[in-house]
Amino acid sequence: MSDVLDRFDAAPRATLTALAAHLIPAAHGMPSAGDVIDDRRLRFVLEARPDLLEPLRTALGTGLPEDPAARLAVLERDEPDAHAALLLVVVGAYYTDKVVRERLRYPGQEAKVLQSWKYPVYLEEGLLDGVQARGAIWRDPTTGRTAMEARPAPAAPAERRA
């Protein structure tokens, strides 16, 4: 089975590292994307999104400025699809790295147990009382005006818990 990274030799790989470090440098306690994006991370992104391979190759190709800022500007202007693919590959590889996520305190999309038996804070604080006290806000088609409706008074928290 072929490795998706076989399509990249040393030159485009070095270009990617330079572009990644330019976009996301080491700062504010976070590592550089140039250091984080190794073969494992790049392979992960391209296996999840094989459609990014060709536009990424375009973004890393020859005939474009070597300077990262200049290359990004040319890509954004002339090759917007390749530019967008490059950004997504860099960001996708960086933010799926374990260390990066730990430093961001982002654990991923977790499954949590709903505590449906808990009394909602918004009821405890009476945040719906005013809404109910102001009464109906729907427009009555028979009159064209806001409906006049008797509504029960908001229940006290103790009554609600009962």
Partner: protein, 537 residues
């Protein structure tokens, strides 16, 4: 190949198709459904996986043009300001919808009478209310009764409301101070175990499929029951056209299987449930010498009056960590404060607001929908300020019907079976633009009152055509409507349309609750009038 005609042939196994199939099969009808997509297993959804934010932009995109799957059909949207979104599968677009489940309001059914524009519906809120209550039970809706945005009385949602989260609480407190309406959003997402399904785990990935089965979709809620009652569901079946006899009745559907082999499925009654793009496409594809402008189109309105709810996103950023990547991607809270018409605002009708979660770090890092992108050392500050610290008001503005906004057949683009693709012509009206401008200003005020230090606005999102409505409208007059008040085609007495095509006006709310309630009402009518139903000889 079927030889004995089905009592009812349904095209499309999504929200409305599932509701009608279950109701009719349980009433003893011989039901067959043709669905171009397939079944999905909950384990296929990427929410818990590391690649979630990567695959949501391609394989699990809400746009068929982005996904480009074989079961999708492409849409020519060159002349459209909003891209239509949908999913072809058993369960249909419910697999990727958010799950918000508000009802239309009484005024939504009387727009012409109240505001002198658009049209009135041939039914009203009170007539639809029992169907709202039944579908709430069938799908398992979580919410809180007593919302003064709606008439009092009737059944409360069957399940307790979902949590509103830290962001929802901040905004609820702000609305309490402002004296503005807010309410916990009703969602077709389970807050407790129900009907053999597990409750929500707040993963926040609802729009890429629910791994728990907590979010309702008819592949979970209706099709197993319909099949147990005898319905036959054929997947990978792409309908090419409906056939008619000399009497003008529909006799069944010609369809292609995955290998491209053609079949004919005969039926006594045909029900279209293929959404407001797919249904008019099929009616137009069914043109014949007797129906030169397409089937059921003597009014000339098939495909016209497309409504898609122009949508704006107003996001507030807060200093505190709200863990806003979690929570149901239905909505946590809603507001109808500015829903009803107030002509002093400079536009007619209004919008419902729904507060939603904010995705993960890849979304925070990439250029935002509001156009913000930060690279270099400050990129890290940008991501930290966005990740988990946001609350987004989604604003659905009422989209008024315009005959120029339409679905036609492309003369150049086809699907993988060579069938002409739909071509969309859609412009956002001046009324919608003024409406969104006002609501953006008010939603910004809401978030600032809640403590947001920054408010970012995406004024008119292109990929926001979740709500496809109006392309075969109901009405009592056959010259100005395609369907009668029971969703039956005026021109073809054994043809029904039960998806969002039937909408007369769009209202300003998420429409799935109304679509399935109207579909259930139509199915009830089919059952009740069974003995008098005209069928092919």
């Amino acid at each position: 190949m079927a030889t004995e005609p089905a009592d009812v042939l349904i095209v499309g196994a999504g929200a409305s198709g599932g509701v009608v199939a279950r109701r009719l099969a349980e009433a003893g009808f011989r039901v067959v459904c043709l669905e171009q997509g397939d079944w999905h297993d909950k384990a296929e959804y990427r929410g818990p996986e590391l690649d979630w934010e990567l695959t949501m932009r391609k394989q699990w995109s809400t746009s068929p043009n982005v996904r480009g799957l074989a079961q999708d059909y492409p849409i020519d949207e060159t002349d459209a300001e909003i891209s239509p979104l949908m999913y072809s599968a058993v369960g249909g677009s419910m697999l990727i919808f958010a799950g918000a489940w508000p009802r239309m309001l009484p005024s939504d059914f009387r727009v012409r009478s109240l505001d002198g524009i658009a049209d009135d519906w041939p039914l009203d809120y009170q007539e639809l209310r029992p169907y709202y209550e039944r579908t709430d039970r069938e799908f398992g809706v979580s919410g809180m009764g007593g919302d003064p945005a709606y008439p009092a009385g009737g059944e409360d949602p069957p399940l307790p409301p979902l949590p509103i989260g830290a962001g929802g609480l901040k905004v609820a407190r702000a609305h309490a101070r402002l004296g503005w309406h807010w309410w916990p959003e009703p969602n077709s997402i389970l807050s407790v175990p129900y009907d053999g399904r597990r409750p929500c785990v707040q993963r926040g990935t609802c729009q890429q499929g629910c791994n728990e089965g907590a979010k309702a979709s008819t592949d979970l809620t209706h099709w197993p029951k319909a099949i147990a009652a005898g319905a036959r569901l054929v997947t990978g079946a792409r309908v090419r056209r409906l056939e008619t006899d000399k009497a003008g009745l529909v006799t069944g559907a010609t369809w292609l299987d995955r290998e491209g082999l053609e079949h004919f499925e005969p039926a006594r009654v045909v029900v279209l449930a293929a959404n407001a793009i797919g249904t008019p496409r099929l009616l137009l594809l069914s043109a014949s010498p007797a129906h030169r402008d397409g089937l059921a189109n003597s009014s000339g309105l098939v495909g016209r009056r497309l409504m898609m709810h122009p949508f704006a996103n107003v996001g507030g950023l807060f200093d505190e960590d709200l863990e806003s990547w979690q929570g149901q991607f239905g909505c946590s809270i809603e507001s109808f404060q500015f829903y009803e018409t107030d002509e002093r605002r400079g536009f007619l009708r209004g919008a419902k607001w729904g507060l939603a979660p904010t995705f993960g770090p890849i979304n925070a890092a990439l250029p935002s929908r509001a156009g913000t992108q930060v690279w270099g050392p400050d990129h890290h500050l940008h991501v930290r300020s966005h990740l988990g610290r946001g609350a987004n008001w989604g604003l659905f503005g009422e989209d008024l019907p315009d005959p120029a906004n339409q679905v036609a057949l492309s003369s150049t683009l086809t699907d993988t079976s060579g069938i002409p693709a739909p071509e969309i012509h859609y412009k956002v009206s001046d009324n919608s633009r003024r409406l969104l401008d006002f609501h953006i200003e008010m939603a910004s005020q809401s978030l600032k009152e809640a403590g947001a230090h920054t408010v970012e606005v995406d004024r008119l999102m292109r990929y926001s055509g979740w709500h496809l409505l109006g392309t075969a409208r109901m009405g009592d007059d056959p010259t100005t409507s395609v369907l009668d008040r029971w969703n039956r085609a005026h021109d073809v007495p054994n043809l029904y349309v039960v998806d969002g095509s039937c909408f007369v006006t769009s209202a300003g709310v998420n429409p799935t609750s109304s679509i399935v309630s109207l579909a259930l009402r139509a199915a009830d009518h089919l059952v009740q009038t069974r003995a008098n139903q005209q069928v092919p000889a």
